[in-house]
Symmetry: C2
DNA sequence: TTGAAAGCGCTACCAA
DNA sequence: TTGGTAGCGCTTTCAA
C-alpha cells in the first residue's frame, strides 16, 4: 500500500551507475548509447518503474507538447464524433495525442476552452468554429501555433481549413429531386445560421432558381432555436406540404422520418450526411466521409507543426449523391 | 510576420515592475495580491500576450497535470462516443481536460497508448479495457494513479469500474420475447468474446433455460472475426430461421435489419443499446444511457483524484426495456 | 560514447 | 502584501 515516490532520471542514473544524461539519451536517441550501457539503464528503469515525464521534456524554451487540441462545440453530434475519430487516428500515427475540449456551443465557452488548451501548449489547435469570431486566436497564430478550422472556416482569422463542398452537394441533390418531377421541394435546417447551412441553402436556391422555381421562401424551414423535430413537423404539417424534402443534416433527416411517420405522410427525401440506417431504410443522402475529413485536417496540422506556413490552405472535400429510392415521387415508406 | 518569443512570468514581472512570484500569485491566488498590483500585472500580461504555461506548473515533485486520459479501443463505435462525450462534460465541469487515446482494439496498442498517456502524467486513467489483461497497470496504481474501467471490468487489476446490468437487461428482453410466444429465439453477437457479450449471453441463456428451452446452442450465433452483417445473414438465412432475434449490440441490430431486408424475412427483434432511428423504425431495445455512464465514470475519477481509495468501487447502471413493437410475432416490417 | 552545468517556466518555502 | 531562493525532471550545449 506504500505510495512510493515516482522514479526520475536521477534515480535511474544512480542505480545504473551512469550519468543523468546517459539515461536521457537511452530514451531520446538510443542509437547513441552503447549496447551494454543501454541494457543496464533499461534494467534499472524497469526495477524502479521509471516512466519518462514528457511534460518536463516540453519545458524547453518555446517548446510545445506533443499534443494537439481539438475544440468541438457540440459533442453530441455523431458527425463530429467521426471527425474526431479520424483526427485521432491520423495524429496517433504521427506520434501525437489528442486533447479534447468542448465548448457546449457557447460563445464564451469556445474562448475559455481554447485558452485552456493553449495553456497546455498544444502543438496545434484544431477547431470546429462555433463562436461568431475567432480573432481572439490571432495572437497565438502570430506566436506560431497553427490553427486548423474543420467543417466551417474560422472568422476573422487566417487559418487553414478543411471543408465540404456543401454548395454543390446540395445543388446536386436538389437537381435530382427536380429530375424526379418534384416542384414543391422544401429545405429544412436547424440550426440554420451556420456556415454549412448557409452554403447548402445557397446550393438549393441556385438549383431551384435555375429550374424557374426561385420563390423558395415558403419552402424554406429554417430555425435556430426550435429542435429538429419541431421544424420537421411544421414543414410536413403545413397547409400545402412539400412533395419532397432536402434535410440540412443527419439529425434533420431522422426528424423528417419521425414526423412523416407521425403525420402519416410520405414526402420524397434526400438528406445531407449519411447515417447508420439510411441504407436499410432506402434513404437517399448526400454522402461524404467524416473520418476522411478528420484525417485530412489532422494531416494538415501535422504538416503545419513541422513547417509553419504563411498562406492558409483551404481544402474542400467532395460529396457524393447516393440515391436509394427515397428521392422518388412516392417518397419514404415507413 | 515576426515570430516573437512567447512571454514568460519573468517578462511580465519585469514590465510590471514586480517580482516573478507576484505574477505567479495573480494567476494562482489572486485574492492574495493587492488590487492595484494585480491590475498592473494583468495589463502587462495582456500587452505581452502572456499565457501561463500549465505544463511547467505540473513539474512539481509527484505532480500530475490537470488532464485525465481516456483509452478507447474502437473509436468508430457510436456508443463509446457518447460515453466519451459524457466523460468530457463531467471532467470539464471539474476543471479537467480530456486526453484521448485509441488502441484500435489491439493488444499491444492498449499498453502502448496507456504508456503514452501516463507519460503525460494524467491525473487519472479511464479506459474501456480491451486487452486480455490489465495487470501491466498495477505499478501505476501503486504509484497513485487512479484507474477507472468503463463498460467492462479490468482484468487482474484492482480498479474502479462503471458497468451496465448486462445480464438482467438481456434476461428481461428474452422474457419479453418468450411472453410473445416466441420459442426459436436467437442471440447474435460479434465480437462475442468480450465481457459485455458474455454477460448478455448468460442473461439470455438463463431466461431460455427457465422457460424449458435450455438447448440454445443452435440459436447462438457468436463470432469474433466475421462482421455483423455476415453473422446476421447467417442467422436469418439458416435452414430453420429463428422467429425472434436478440441482437447483442447496436451495430448488430442494424445488421439484422439489413439482413432481414435482403432475405425478405421479418423476425421479431430486440436489440441491446438504443440507436438513432430505432424509434422511427419501431424497434424494441434494451436502452441505457451512455452519456450518464461516462458522467458517472468521470465523477468517480474526479473523486479518486481528490481522495485515493483502497477499495475499488464497482457501479452497475440499470437498463430499461423499451418495447416499440418489433418484439411481436409479426416482427420487423421494412 | 559519456558527463557536468546551466536553464526551461513555474511554484513552495521561508523571509522581509 | 511582496520577494528571494531553491528546486521540479528533463534537455541542451560544450567538454572530456
Amino acid at each position: 500500500m506504500s505510495l512510493q515516490q515516482r522514479a526520475t532520471l536521477d534515480d535511474v542514473a544512480r542505480l545504473a551507475g551512469v550519468s543523468r544524461k546517459t539515461v536521457s539519451r537511452v530514451y531520446s536517441e538510443p542509437e547513441k548509447v552503447a549496447g551494454t550501457t543501454r541494457d543496464q539503464v533499461l534494467a534499472a528503469a524497469r526495477r524502479l518503474r521509471f516512466r519518462p515525464n514528457t511534460l518536463a521534456r516540453t519545458l524547453r524554451r518555446g517548446g510545445t507538447s506533443s499534443t494537439v487540441g481539438l475544440l468541438i462545440g457540440d459533442m453530441s453530434n455523431p458527425f463530429y464524433h467521426s471527425v474526431a475519430a479520424g483526427i485521432e487516428r491520423e495524429l496517433s500515427s504521427a506520434g501525437l495525442t489528442l486533447v479534447l475540449g468542448s465548448s457546449d456551443d457557447s460563445e464564451e465557452g469556445e474562448e475559455r476552452v481554447a485558452d485552456a488548451l493553449l495553456s497546455q501548449r498544444v502543438a496545434a489547435l484544431m477547431m470546429i468554429p462555433a463562436a461568431a469570431d475567432q480573432s481572439y486566436l490571432d495572437g497565438e497564430r502570430q506566436l506560431g501555433t497553427p490553427v486548423i478550422a474543420v467543417d466551417r472556416p474560422a472568422k476573422n482569422l487566417l487559418a487553414d481549413a478543411v471543408l465540404l463542398q456543401n454548395r454543390s452537394g446540395a445543388r446536386q441533390a436538389t437537381e435530382a429531386l427536380l429530375a424526379q418531377g418534384h416542384r414543391q421541394i422544401a429545405y429544412l435546417a436547424s440550426p440554420a445560421d451556420i456556415y454549412t447551412q448557409r452554403e447548402r441553402l445557397a446550393g438549393y436556391r441556385g438549383a431551384m432558381t435555375e429550374a424557374g422555381l426561385g420563390r423558395t421562401g415558403p419552402l424554406e424551414h429554417l430555425s435556430d432555436d426550435a429542435d429538429e423535430d419541431a421544424v420537421a413537423r411544421a414543414a410536413l404539417g403545413s397547409a400545402e406540404p412539400p412533395t419532397a424534402v432536402l434535410a440540412g443534416n443527419n439529425r434533420m433527416s431522422v426528424a423528417v422520418l419521425r414526423a412523416a411517420r407521425e403525420l402519416q405522410v410520405s414526402p420524397a427525401l434526400i438528406g445531407f450526411d449519411d447515417f447508420d440506417t439510411a441504407d436499410v431504410l432506402g434513404i437517399s443522402v448526400i454522402s461524404h466521409d467524416p473520418l476522411e475529413m478528420g484525417r485530412r485536417a489532422a494531416a494538415l496540422a501535422v504538416e503545419r507543426i513541422a513547417r509553419p506556413a504563411t498562406v492558409p490552405e483551404v481544402v474542400e472535400l467532395p460529396t457524393r449523391l447516393v440515391l436509394r429510392g427515397s428521392e422518388r415521387p412516392e417518397g419514404v415508406s415507413l
